[in-house]
Symmetry: D3
Subunit: 318 residues, 6 copies
């Protein structure tokens, strides 16, 4: 049971459109706060998009996700779980990037998550672009590679962009595998689609035994069947969940920089997370929400809803 200090502000006392927007109306507990060490699951923003190859915008993701997340209520509609009562959750705030220097930003982020790991706080991250996942993994998976459930329309397994750099959102999972942060045998990538530059990413996956489920296979087999395989691959050892909002169809989630048509609808987008019940999720992220191209704010609201689903998984895994 969580301490009352960690309970969200009630919508009955302060309407949900009101108040300073922290993630899910949780208390803001930066790491220098006296109660920081009581936090079990820390919601963290990584306001950066220095790795995007196309349209920028995810630097504004954490703030808009916080704003949308104040519509989250106390109880899961299907399972009945009340996560904020079950564990000490808090909004840890954002980690400051260096907006004009990617290597410096990656160092800052890695140092932060190394610190979280040392305190025993499990991170639920709001990106930022997908390059943000790399320093999170560097912080929390140095000692033992993690399994991965990865929802995305792109593999992000490319070797290099723009004449040689790997510091883009098209490369992080290749880097993570090469650095030993992820166990390729326990990795699954779901929802892959769209036109391709070439086949280098899929060749890498094949060579390392990474399971790729294309969107065609996803729709042919259905959510239940695919996710059963995902659970089997990832197993019961510690795993990470990385959710790129462009996994979802752009009709549902237009607010992202590199959308690809033909993805899952909102119901499927939520169910794939729920079907991960039982997995040992020790960290998770929701990335690539880009407010400047999200005129209704709906993408952020979906992102916040997905973060709640992931939070419930993480609470169950404590």
């Amino acid at each position: 049971m969580s301490d009352r200090f960690f309970h969200p502000v009630s919508g009955m006392e302060m309407p949900r459109f009101a108040g300073i927007p922290t993630f899910m109306r949780l208390p803001h507990v930066p790491l220098d706060h006296p109660r920081a060490d009581e936090v079990q699951i820390g919601l963290v923003g990584l306001p950066w998009d220095g790795g995007v190859s196309n349209r920028a915008g995810p630097r504004h993701g954490p703030r808009q996700l916080r704003d949308a997340s104040t519509m989250i209520r106390a109880q899961h509609g299907v399972s009945g779980m009340r996560p904020f009562e079950a564990a000490n959750c808090a909004d840890l705030g954002d980690v400051g990037p260096n907006p004009v220097d990617n290597p410096d930003t990656l160092r800052r982020f890695e140092a932060y998550f190394t610190g979280l790991k040392e305190r025993g706080i499990r991170p639920l991250v709001a990106g930022g672009d997908h390059l943000c996942t790399l320093p999170v993994l560097r912080g929390i998976a140095k000692d033992a590679p993690l399994g991965l459930v990865h929802f995305d329309s792109h593999t992000d397994l490319f070797p290099a962009y723009f004449g040689g750099t790997t510091l883009t959102h098209g490369n992080p999972f290749r880097s993570a595998v090469e650095e030993g942060l992820l166990d390729p045998a326990r990795m699954i990538q779901i929802g892959i689609r769209g036109t391709m530059y070439d086949s280098e990413d899929r060749d890498f996956a094949k060579a390392h035994g990474i399971r790729i489920v294309t969107i065609e296979e996803f729709f042919d087999r259905g959510v239940k069947d695919v996710m059963a395989e995902a659970r089997a691959i990832v197993g019961t050892k510690p795993a990470y969940m990385s959710y790129d909002i462009d996994f979802v169809d752009p009709s549902v989630a237009p607010g992202t920089g590199t959308p690809e048509w033909g993805g899952p609808n909102a119901y499927e987008a939520i169910r794939v997370v729920r079907e991960c019940a039982g997995l040992n999720i020790v960290g998770a992220d929701l990335v690539e929400v880009s407010p400047p191209v999200d005129p209704t704010g709906g993408t952020a609201w979906l992102g916040a809803s997905l973060m709640f689903e992931m939070l419930c998984l993480m609470v169950a895994a404590l």
Copy 2:
């Protein structure tokens, strides 16, 4: 057969983007109009959102629904019904709310619908937030409780908000049951989903025998099966249809104040109404369309399309 006076303006003579926008291009027949007593089905706007607990906006719903509705043509695409030729339909105009006083507004609305009932005009209402349904029912269901087909993502069965009030859009159906306006044994609520404050609404439903179909059950069983049950529950006695646009997935209907992800698509949203063919629908509403958060106007266009479907049901039930 309807009188020519009640036929809509033709799109061949006045293009559909032109002309003063009344509902479906019907004549504007306020109650003091000489031909008001010939009206069989009256389309009425309730431009008010005093009951919303989150984002305001539905006060602008009737006007935008009228604007969108001028794209409706004469004939139903599947059944072939030509409702404007089959019955005298008219746009009765809006009922004026008191924008800063909910009790006064409810009194005004109730008096209006009591008057309609006395004249024998059946109402097809364009909201307004869901609290608007309550005074409609007070006006038309005082003598005998009605059955209810209710499409929504929320049950709106809560006992109180904000420290005790029941005058919000989260409470009307509980009030209506408690006031004897609806017969709980002939009520079905379809599409319920999203995070919850607690379980008070579902406890009330269980205690009164109100049937709730969650979105999970809806998708598992499919439209046909669920709607067959709906028809069986509601039966052939007079019934009301209340359609909250947030029943539909926010990718389809973003223009609403409290969207919940994971709802039906547009085809399903339309089909659930069509599957009510045969029910004895004596009144209906389409509520919670919020133009300020509907950048393309698509939500209003869907709302107008649904009003046409409901109108066809009501014409058939005359």
Copy 3:
């Protein structure tokens, strides 16, 4: 194999958001260009909407489709085809309309496509409203009527609008049949829905043996089954594909002038084209994209993605 001159600009050298936007980053090769005669498939814009009966906007379609199309990469994600290496493709530019004179515009367009036919360049057209299809067919199908795969929510088979004219986007396919440009026995129209003025279009279809698949039949049977029938009807003789973006559900493609709710999702919208593999597509168009009502640009991005699918069909048919 195509000549390097005809290869698109690489996203690795010039990021996809940069550069003058031609269709799919292909070279701009107007007909007076020295290499114009080497072009096998010409992408052409028809920036005109003089035929719309409701909201204007498709005049801006070609430019926004070009802009969105710079996100297309080199390789098809499922088939692996690399169309720009397989055939000489080029952006031929736009054909200039007379914005205030429909008959003059139709003459200009017809003359242009007659010229393309003479040079042996197959057209992939970006509209423009659906009236644009008529002068394309007049240019390329004079000698022998073509088969037609037509995706749309409307039949566009009406006899006349606004007191007698046929120069609207509601009439082109009737005109084309009457002029012998299309073989009605090899025509199929898929996705038809929405309210109707009357039944004149369907009577015409019945009288001429044109196959109409309503959206209800489409969803009941599924993509595979319907498209198998389409392939059987169209056969292996030369055929044209006309894709009105309003075939797709407005939640996916809001950017169009006469949307009708209840259409296919994005995955289905793409798959119906892929399922035409094997057809002998000698010309195609994507019409009715209306940028002024497409706030996220998503409709154009879907349109560009569909043009890529059609291009792959046309390359395969060379």
Copy 4:
């Protein structure tokens, strides 16, 4: 004093966001209405943009102007005039265009205004593009040429567009002068600016003695001085006022098809009309409001405010 029948709906009884939107909440009195002959000033919509050379949209102008105009109250803020009490004003509705045939549309419009003239109803027109002014003048100025106060960033005095046509919004005032509908010696055009095709329009003005006040002269001399000259030129004989919303700076009025930067601000935009007090304005129009490019609706709201100013001038001239 006007009859109560012609008084607008009160905002105290029906809030200004509510009700079917007629111009300034006046009664809808089409010409076949029993009280049509009592109307002194008729507000008319011309929902058409067939004359635009660039972006379409003004076909939606009348409807959005009506919507915005419901915020107009009863009394002029400076003069104290209460125009709706001083004269019988009414919303006559729209005149239906033929959306695909400019010559036919011009005939329809001309016939309508010829009819108004015969009934003695003075028109206050909401466009539509600027070509709409021509048929209004043909209807009301056949017997005697009118003076003209013309606010615009373009002269609209060009001889021909697109290879010979004069049926565009760049030509109407040249046509009107050539047809003897306007007296060039009593014409003034104010606010002219922007890049030019060539000098043909200015040569025509010079040859006919039409006074052009460029925006540079306008700002150098100031509103009072320029408008004193305007009053002197136009004199006390019957005159028409034509107000193209692109007269105003695009920061104030972005919702128009051919904006030119560097125009008057809103205060100046209003004052130029007020400074015409004393002129004998027998007809007026407000044109080129284009809702699809007016995201806040502010351009329409300014347009409605200007129509109110013009209405006060017309009432004073009765």
Copy 5:
């Protein structure tokens, strides 16, 4: 000199687009915070719009003003004042309204500001609609009426709306005068314009000696002259500043519910506040910012900039 605890987060460490958005990046110090009693100037949000007579939206004002305010830097560009170093400023959070009950909300707000007054914290309020000013004044001006500098396009001095209520944003200053919270002899209202229902407000002003400067007078005399008079009227005794964002021209500040064209530009909007240097401002508010109709967020950014100007006045008056 302020304590470091009260310094804003630096944009050099945490970029200005990042971090949980408090007002001007100040620490969040709710009244139960251990350091609350050290606060000298408290920035407070009143997220409510229950008093609007037209379009809702200001309930979202405080949150969007916070978001925009993170672009405020440390030093005033003209005076060089560094207010956050000169006084202890903090974000006190929002006061929770009862969204469906205006009387209850007014009680809650009044109690809050009564408490602030007792603690000696001076309020800088972010509305909310203009009715919010009334409970602020009830909280801080009970003992002695304050002077008032009031920027607005409306007087808000009306006696009643909608059949008798005074609980709208059109009435608060009349109520405040009648309750003895404001000294009418030390009141000035600047910027008044727009159409009028009638003259009841101006009659009240005249009867009580309240100075009204219409926008015509404002532009004729200029900022310096008008503001010199304002300083003379208000004098050196304690005064309140109330800034309705609709004072500013809608081209600058479209994001408000009842805009009136013809107001000051942004430079003038800022200068009128600066010209109040020397006044003894003990409380202030910025009201009527309505995010749903502010597509670029610019209105909130102007509002935040004005709050910074007002803050500098309040710091100077400590």
Copy 6:
């Protein structure tokens, strides 16, 4: 006189909304084009925003500026100059950045402009953020420092950001002075305003003799007086003009990343450039247009209009 090859596409043959959008409809002449060496003034896009400290977006500037620029006509409205006939102007295309590596991007840009200088092509640059100016100057001013007319709301003279880097849009002019690319005695910065971090930039300006005209001085003295001083300072030796769109008030130009309220209106924004007639402008840029926050596209249209003004200056200086 220019060669016909270099004339823009005529709006009479291809309407201005149509055609592949190059700058001002000029021919696209990349540097490997056979006629590249005939170009006198080259319009170049720098699609990059790697230097922004706040909101990203200017990477999309060149494409949107091209799109808007197709509304530019052949002749200057005041001077009558027909620049495209007076000199060979062309669209050189974009220079490709490395989106994730600022130092690499700066090298690419510098190399490009060094090449232009060698060919004798004078650049008119469309940014991109303000950091883009630095590599342009490195390319064209290596041999002799240039004078500078700089319109902006910020000095961009800061020493470092984010812990030490100078690679942001807040530093380029300090770097350029320190590198000897600009002659500080011939520099003037006009329009400076907004809150400040500190005074380091102004101290640098004072120390080097750079003239800063704050917005307060600008409005107090007026355009003519300030620009006379600017001409005197810059003199007749070669000079560069750098125009940050945030010089202009955000009501006019909302589409930029770091807007500051209280700037010039559109007429003043244009006139300051015209008042530079006679200066020896050998290169110029228009930077910081950010399409994602420019909902109407008006900012780009103003930017294109300003580029036309600058082009006329550059043509006169040939």
